[in-house]
Symmetry: C2
Subunit: 409 residues, 2 copies
C-alpha cells in the first residue's frame, strides 16, 4: 500500500526542474466545436487584459453592477441575486444544490445524462436524499415521472438539466415548473449549455435557481458560473437550520459582497469578470431573440447536412439542443480515429461521448460566435473527409450541399 502510494504521490527529484527551459505559450488555433469551451470572442480577450483594479475599487463596483444587469438580461429575470460564481459550471451546480438542500432533505433529480447524474452525486454529498428519475441518455424527463416522484416524496427541490450537454437533449420546462410549484418545491435548472443559445426565460418559467457556465454560448474562457436565485429560493437559503456546507459558495455571504454594502467575502476573479461583462455586452447588442434564432437556424442547417451524409442525430427530433448537436457514430467507424483526424488535419475539436455514450456519439457544439454559416460548412466538409478516411461511404459534397440549400432557402 505504501509502495503503491509512494510511486503514486511522490515524484523523483529529477522531475523538479533543474535547468529545464519552459518555452513561450504557442497554442494551435483550434476551431472549438466540442461541448465547451467554445472559441473566445476577440473582444472578450481584449477586455480580459484591461488593467486590473482592486476587488473593492469603486470602478470595479461599477463593473459588477453592469455585469449583474447584463446577466439579468441574459437570464430574463429580475432576481436581485444574479451574479457569476467564482468557479466553473460545476461550482454553479454545487452552489445551487448546497444552498437549497439540507441534510435529510428529499430532492427530485432528473437523471437522463451525465450532468443529471452529477446533480445526483452533488445533492447526495450535501446530505440530500435523491429521488432519481432515470431516463435513457438522449431522451428528456417526462412530466408524469416528475409528478410521480413528487407525489411519493416530500421533496421540496426539483433539480433538472435544461440543456444536457452529454446527450444534446433540450428539456421542456414549462409543465415541470408548474408541477414543482404545485407541490411546493423549488425548481433548480442547469442551463450551462443553453444560456443565450436557445429560448430560456427564467422569470416566465418561474425557475427558482438557474446556473450556467461562461465557456459555452457566451464565448468567454471557462472559470465563471453565472447563477440566479429568486426571492423564494433566497428565503429558503436564509431560513436554513444548518449552515451551507461550503463557505466559498454560501449565497447569503456572496450576496453581501454583490450588494450595496460590498462586504468582503473572497477576492473576485476580476479579469474573468471583465471578460464576462464584455461577452454579455455582445449578447445585449445582438439581442436575445435574434441570438436564439441564429443558434436554431445554424443547428438545423448542420442537421440537414448530417442527415444528407446518411448519419443520424442522437437526440429526439422534437428535443434537440441547437448549441450542442449529438451525432450517432455509424457502425464500422472508430470514434477516436475520426476525432484525431479532425483535430490533427483540420484543427477542429469535436467532443466524444461521456459515460454510457462513449464511442457512440460525437458532440458538435455550435455556440455563440461558432454558430454561423461558415462554421457549419467547414464542420460538415471536415467530417465528411474524416469519415471517408475511415472507409465510410458518402457522396462527396453531399452534406455541405444540403446545408447550403437550407441556408439559401
Amino acid at each position: 500500500m505504501t509502495q503503491l502510494f509512494k510511486s503514486c504521490y511522490y515524484v523523483s527529484d529529477d522531475k523538479v526542474p533543474g535547468l529545464k527551459s519552459y518555452g513561450e505559450l504557442n497554442p494551435p488555433s483550434r476551431l472549438l466545436l466540442g461541448p465547451g469551451p467554445s472559441n473566445v470572442d476577440p473582444r472578450v480577450l481584449k477586455a480580459m487584459v484591461s488593467p486590473l483594479v482592486g476587488h473593492l475599487d469603486p470602478y470595479f463596483f461599477e463593473i459588477m453592477n453592469d455585469t449583474v444587469e447584463l446577466l439579468r438580461y441574459a437570464f430574463k429575470t429580475n432576481n436581485k441575486l444574479t451574479i457569476p460564481v467564482s468557479g466553473t459550471g460545476s461550482a454553479g451546480m454545487e452552489a445551487a444544490l448546497y444552498n437549497t438542500v439540507e441534510p435529510g432533505d428529499e430532492v427530485v433529480v432528473g437523471m437522463n445524462g451525465y450532468f443529471g447524474e452529477r446533480m445526483n452525486e452533488i445533492a447526495s454529498r450535501c446530505g440530500g436524499k435523491v429521488i432519481g428519475i432515470k431516463e435513457d441518455w438522449g431522451k428528456v424527463v417526462r412530466k408524469e415521472a416528475v409528478e410521480d416522484a413528487l407525489e411519493k416524496s416530500k421533496a421540496k427541490v426539483v433539480a433538472i438539466v435544461h440543456a444536457e450537454t452529454s446527450t444534446g437533449a433540450l428539456q421542456p420546462l414549462h409543465e415541470i415548473s408548474k408541477l414543482a410549484h404545485e407541490y411546493g418545491a423549488l425548481l433548480l435548472v442547469d442551463a450551462v449549455t443553453s444560456l443565450t443559445g436557445c429560448e430560456l426565460d427564467v422569470d416566465a418559467l418561474q425557475i427558482d435557481v438557474c446556473y450556467s457556465g461562461s465557456q459555452k454560448c457566451l464565448n468567454c474562457p471557462p472559470g465563471l458560473s453565472p447563477i440566479t436565485f429568486n426571492e423564494k429560493a433566497m428565503n429558503k437559503v436564509l431560513a436554513r437550520n444548518t449552515k451551507v456546507p461550503s463557505w466559498y459558495l454560501d449565497m447569503s455571504l456572496i450576496d453581501k459582497y454583490w450588494s450595496e454594502g460590498r462586504a468582503y467575502h473572497h477576492t473576485a476573479p476580476i479579469s474573468m469578470i471583465y471578460a464576462l461583462r464584455e461577452a454579455l455586452r455582445i449578447v445585449y447588442e445582438e439581442g436575445l431573440e435574434k441570438r436564439w434564432a441564429r443558434h436554431k437556424k445554424n443547428s438545423q442547417a448542420f442537421i440537414e447536412g448530417i442527415e444528407a451524409m446518411g448519419l443520424k442525430m442522437h437526440a429526439e427530433k422534437e428535443h434537440r439542443l441547437p448549441s450542442l448537436n449529438s451525432v450517432a457514430i455509424p457502425t464500422g467507424v472508430t470514434d477516436t480515429n475520426v476525432r484525431s483526424t479532425l483535430l490533427n488535419d483540420f484543427n477542429i475539436e469535436v467532443g466524444g461521448g461521456l459515460g454510457a455514450l462513449r464511442g457512440k456519439i460525437w458532440r458538435v457544439g455550435l455556440m455563440g460566435i461558432n454558430s454561423n454559416e461558415k462554421t457549419v460548412i467547414i464542420a460538415l466538409e471536415a467530417l465528411e473527409r474524416a469519415l471517408r478516411k475511415e472507409g465510410y461511404k458518402v457522396t462527396a459534397g453531399e452534406g455541405v450541399r444540403a446545408a447550403a440549400d437550407f441556408f439559401s432557402k
Copy 2:
C-alpha cells in the same frame, strides 16, 4: 418578512436594461499596493489571451504538465499532486480542510488574524471540532500553545496561516511542524500571501498540505489557488470514511484529471492556467532565492521610510511579512481619508484593516513585480503627502530619504 425580502431580493422592471448602453471597459491604471490583487505582469496578460484550446487537448496537457512542474519549483516540493484549484485562495482553503477533515474530527487552528478565523469557520462547516489557538492579531502562534492543544486533544490536523494577510505577521513553522508530526497530525499551511514572496520550503518544513493564491506574489489575476498535498495527506484523503463534502474540490477526483489518465472532472479554467504558467515561468527565471531576497530588501527599505516618518509597524519586528507591510494608523488621522487621497490623487491602492483592525492599520502589499525600489519610493512619497493633508506632522522627504539611504547602502 416577505415585504422585506421583496425589496431585498427583487428588482423592479426598470433595472433590467432597456435601451441603456454599456460602455467599453476603461479601468484606471492603479498601482495595486493593497493586500491583493497585485498588478499583473504584462507577460502574464499576454499569455492569458493566447488562443483557447480544449481542456482535453493534447497541447493543453503539455501546459498542465509544465504548470505542475513549475508549481513544484515554487513550493519547493516533490509532491505529485501540486496543481491550481479552480477558484480563489479561499477555495484552496476549503480544499485543504474539506479533504483532510471528517465530521467529528478535532482540528487545531491558529487564530491570530482574519484568515485564521476563516479557517476556523471553514473547518467547522465541514463538521470539524476546532481547538482554536487565539492570539492577538499581529502576533504569531506560539509553539507552546500548539503543543498544549495537541496534548489536550486527539487532533489529527493542525491548520495554520504562514502569511497572515490581515496583520502582516509571518508565522515560523519549523517547530510547529515538528510538534504536529510528533503527535501524528497533518500540518496544513495557508501560504496565500507568502508563496514566492518569502522563504517557504514545503518539503524541508514537512508541510503536508499547502495552498496559495494566484493574485499575490505571483502577479496573476485572482481566480486560481495553487495547492499541494503530500503522500501522507493524500493517503488520508483516500482512506476517508465519508466522501469529501464538496465534489468540486474533491482532490481524489481532481488528481485523476491532472494525472496520466486525464479523467474529465470539471472544465479547467484554461486562460487562467495559461496566465499562471507564465507567472511561474517568470519566478523560475528569476530564481526563488533571489526573489525572496528582493522582497525582503524592498520591505526593509519601506519600513525604514515608514519609521523615519514617525509611524510604527503593526507586526512584531522579528515576524514581519515582506510582501504585506502593516502600518499602524497614527492617532488623529482618519483611515479612509488617507486611502481616498492615495486612490484618487495618486492612483495607488493600499488596504485598510479587516475585522478588529479596521481603522487601525494600513496594509501595504509589495508583491512580485511591485516589490521594487521605484514602488517603495513612490509609495512613501504619496503616503507622506496624504498624511500631511490630514494634518499629520512630518518633515518633507523624510521617508523617501531614509529608504533611499537604505537602498544606497
